[in-house]
Symmetry: C2
Amino acid sequence: MLQNGIAKSVLTRLPLYLEYLIDLKETEGYSGYISATKIAMDLELGEVQVRKDLSFACGNGKPKLGYDLVALIEKIKDYLGCRQRKNAIIIGVGKLGSALLGYKGFERYGIHIIAGFDLKDKIEENESLVKEFTEKNVLEVFENNLIDIGIICVPKKFAQEVCDILVKMKIKAIWNFAPTRLKVPKNVLVQNENLAYSLSVVSSIINNKNK
Amino acid sequence: MLQNGIAKSVLTRLPLYLEYLIDLKETEGYSGYISATKIAMDLELGEVQVRKDLSFACGNGKPKLGYDLVALIEKIKDYLGCRQRKNAIIIGVGKLGSALLGYKGFERYGIHIIAGFDLKDKIEENESLVKEFTEKNVLEVFENNLIDIGIICVPKKFAQEVCDILVKMKIKAIWNFAPTRLKVPKNVLVQNENLAYSLSVVSSIINNKNK
């Protein structure tokens, strides 16, 4: 689970730090230095973990002062590649796909969803970004743009077929919402997402509390 | 990060095992015993980790055989409390809330979203489960049902206000999609969700690969 020496779990936490630090700066008007102790307390993480996580992105803080807030934000943004524009497309623009297509939160990370595809009769009239899902239409978008990420939001039974087309177009990464394991060549990254997982964690914690 | 002796990270992986095992049984017709080695290979996890994770839910497998597939599925379901019905409500039924409201994947975990709330002029005509968000309407649903989980899908600026109302109704857990840290009493569990985080992980891995 290591990517160039950094654990995926650290990569998963870095956006959490980033959102927190930006919020602190922009909403709460915080400035100057921030200590690992404060970050750990606010985010309910261990202090050792915070120091370790942040060391990947920006080295160590200054003794007794901590991290320069503005510099820390910039370094995490650099580390996460927020300034390198990445284009994504969505296949399957039902309710979830449509929610993702309209979600503004991705742009902070340099990710722009530039097109969606669905079956002709599923496309809503006011969805200007959505085209009919045909290999020709997909190819056209790939020929005119550098597409890094394919987001799969189709039902399980169509997911592998859609995936194969994306692989043929030399996609680098797939963010998969279909509850199925996709078969891809080794150089293609698949990040599986299942909304039920998070909710089931909440549910099982409640459950164990009730015991 | 420990809940009754089990790490949250383990709880997060158990649904992954569960979906995989059910898929194996129902789609691929697999039966009998399954080894930790096969599970680890298919899910791309370490074998030691698989054994450790599963030991929480169902003890150890049989030497040289592994785990009885059907029994393993049942034990994980028990552990995750899939058979204890839990009711949830959604506040904020925009595109994302609407997608969650229609999502069938939660029922496998015993979670039923029984109502949604939104501002009167935001409610679509065909949404029979969605009511106007007023304290009176929310109270009515709480009086007539045992509600365990509140799902917050409103914009950031309304999130704390909505959260306070849910806390007043004695909610046990909140699944929060608003990109803000909610203030709750200690006995209320908050699970924050940010779709941008997962996508930013994909993005940063691509980024580090390109370096």
